[in-house]
């Protein structure tokens, strides 16, 4: 094996650039997609200006609610600057909180709490306005409830037992505990879909798709060396050509596994995404064996590259990495058994595809050479 490692290193030296590229490709591409997506999310958030001259619990609460809202990028600014930015269409719309906002809320006055500005290009103005109104109404009715409770307490001789702030805070706590707006409903018997991840992308699915492509393209050496002029020499060497291919295939697998281990550590540290070592190993073994066998079917590398890209695209779509495909899978559930990514994405080890690939590899190993060169 030492000699195989040395000879492979000699071959690697000639392909250092492409080898490094394809080994790092899944890791780099996944990070690129993840950060690209994050950046895109920031870029597509609607910029909304807020002018608040008064700082109070109520005003700050409203601002916090708006900041927490997805797809809105809140810009706290001065009125003149806000109008200027609106004219330049740097802001979609501007909301000015009344200087008496907290007093009006406390007194139950709900007229003229906010002023709003928008332009002829304020495409998100209407939904943003409705959303802001809903936040204000929430505060308004909470305050009103406190006032009613205060009055009832006074009526029944319990005056001063609860302060207004206590009532409002308790109301907020109850809302948070019950999480009324975020409760997700599901049909009886169906699994819940409470994904608390902030990342809507399935990072491991993306990584697995890129790894599949990289592995297929890494194994093009089989085509090049099977059809190289040096092949007849192996009949007179210590290693038959079959063993030479097999041992080199093992080397490529080991190299990929090292890179996978680096990926696991990095994804856990940076993206807080984990996966079991066994699942990762089983996945890499399966796709490496698949690539090893597939490369044997081709005489020309270009045709192999085209097929590799096509296979990756079909499998990525079939796995739902690019587009949701639940309908197709529900109609033909057996399709997933032929998907090399399926066990990996379900934290498993094998499916029908893995078994077929292992069977194919055994057949390849045990069959006698029929070619002119019998090694």
């Amino acid at each position: 094996m030492k000699d195989i490692v040395i000879t492979r290193l000699m071959r690697f030296k000639k392909q250092a650039l492409s080898l490094s590229f394809w080994l790092l490709f899944p890791l780099l591409m996944t990070l690129l997609v993840v950060y690209g997506f994050e950046q895109m999310k920031t870029d597509v958030n609607v910029p909304v200006g807020v002018v608040a001259d008064e700082s109070s619990v109520e005003t700050d609460g409203l601002m916090e609610e708006m900041k927490k809202t997805e797809f809105i990028r809140l810009v706290e600014t001065e009125e003149a600057a806000a109008k200027n930015q609106l004219e330049k269409h740097q802001l979609d719309s501007v909301f000015k909180v009344s200087p008496d906002f907290s007093d009006d809320i406390a007194e139950g006055r709900h007229r003229h709490l906010l002023d709003s500005y928008h332009s002829n290009q304020s495409f998100a103005y209407v939904p943003v306005k409705e959303m802001v109104i809903s936040y204000v109404q929430e505060d308004f009715y909470r305050s009103r409830a406190a006032k009613v409770l205060d009055r009832l307490s006074a009526k029944y001789g319990e005056e001063g037992k609860w302060s207004r702030e206590e009532i409002i805070n308790t109301s907020k706590e109850i809302q948070q505990e019950q999480d009324l707006l975020d409760v997700s409903l599901q049909m009886s018997g169906e699994p819940s879909n409470n994904d608390d991840s902030a990342m809507p992308l399935d990072i491991w699915a993306i990584w697995a798709s890129f790894t599949l492509l990289a592995t297929l393209l890494l194994f093009d050496w089989i085509i090049q060396e099977r059809h190289a002029g040096v092949r007849p020499r192996f009949a007179f060497m210590r290693y038959s050509f079959k063993h030479y291919l097999l041992l080199n295939g093992v080397l490529y697998l080991m190299l990929s596994l090292v890179l996978n281990a680096v990926t696991m550590v990095l994804f856990e540290a940076v993206l807080q995404k984990t996966i079991s070592m066994g699942t990762m190993f089983a996945f890499q073994l399966t796709i490496s064996l698949g690539a090893f066998l597939l490369a044997h079917l081709f005489k020309r590398a270009f045709a192999y590259y085209m097929v590799s890209f096509a296979i990756t695209l079909v499998i990525a779509v079939g796995s739902g990495t690019i587009l949701p495909n639940q309908g197709l899978i529900q109609q033909f559930p057996w399709l997933m058994q032929l998907n090399p990514l399926q066990p990996f994405l379900e934290d498993g080890y094998v499916n029908l595809f893995s078994i077929v690939v292992v069977g194919g590899a055994l057949f390849w190993y045990l069959k006698r050479g029929t070619s002119r060169v019998t090694s």
């Binding site: 195989i4 002029g229 040096v230 092949r231 020499r233 009949a235 007179f236």
Partner: protein, 224 residues
């Protein structure tokens, strides 16, 4: 001693070799001549264990073909007609690569000495920068890394300059006479055949080569 008895080989309906008998003693250089498609390369590939005969018995130094294949291959140095080198490697890298996979371990000095024997002194040169003759010499040297006793060459001097051709011929002759090796090779170059061969075997139907050789006083053995 290389012995071949009642050897037959057909490809479909086409008979290539029919009832071929011959023997070659150690330290002999044998030339195989005949027109293109006569069966020279097929015979050489059978002797190299790369192609199986339909019938017949073959043995070398008591080792039976079809039975002792692995042991036979350790004794055989086969030089293919097509250049079998890593084109993106240098001379040194090619030698080291095939030494690593060879039966016999050789150090760098021994590999350089082998190249010097075939008159190739371009250790660090890229294969792509070598002339046709130099490539042929490297092709030959790689096949001899494991120091085989039976050297089989398929047109080793095709398309190269006269000087390189003479150097290769001279090297093969010396290997047979000084190192007691058996050399069998095919060629279309009749003057080279007459210069270095102890025996000439003729295969085929076109008597052209046979006539040239006999006219020059070379004894020719007809194999079919």
């Amino acid at each position: 001693m290389l012995q071949v008895n009642a050897l037959n080989k057909s490809y479909g309906r086409r008979t290539v070799l029919k009832d071929v008998h011959f023997s070659v003693s150690p330290s002999q250089v044998v030339g195989l001549v005949g027109e293109n498609g006569a069966g020279k390369s097929t015979l050489l590939e059978i002797l190299a264990t790369l192609t199986k005969p339909d019938d017949g018995t073959l043995s070398y130094k008591g080792l039976q073909y079809g039975k002792d294949e692995k042991k036979l291959r350790k004794q055989i140095g086969f030089v293919p007609q097509d250049i079998a080198l890593w084109e993106d490697f240098s001379v040194k890298e090619n030698m080291l690569f095939f030494e690593k996979l060879s039966w016999v371990k050789r150090n760098k000095q021994e590999l350089r000495a082998l190249l010097e024997e075939v008159k190739l002194d371009r250790w660090k040169e890229k294969v792509t920068q070598l002339s046709g003759g130099m490539r042929r010499k490297l092709n030959l040297a790689i096949s001899l890394i494991h120091d085989p006793d039976l050297i089989l060459l398929d047109e080793p001097t095709t398309g190269i300059d006269l000087k390189s051709s003479k150097e290769i011929g001279s090297y093969l002759h010396n290997q047979a006479k000084q190192a007691n090796k058996t050399v069998v090779y095919t060629s279309h170059d009749m003057s080279e055949i007459m210069d270095i061969c102890d025996q000439v075997f003729f295969i085929g139907e076109d008597p052209f080569y046979e006539e040239i050789l006999t006219a020059s006083g070379q004894e020719v053995v007809r194999l079919m």
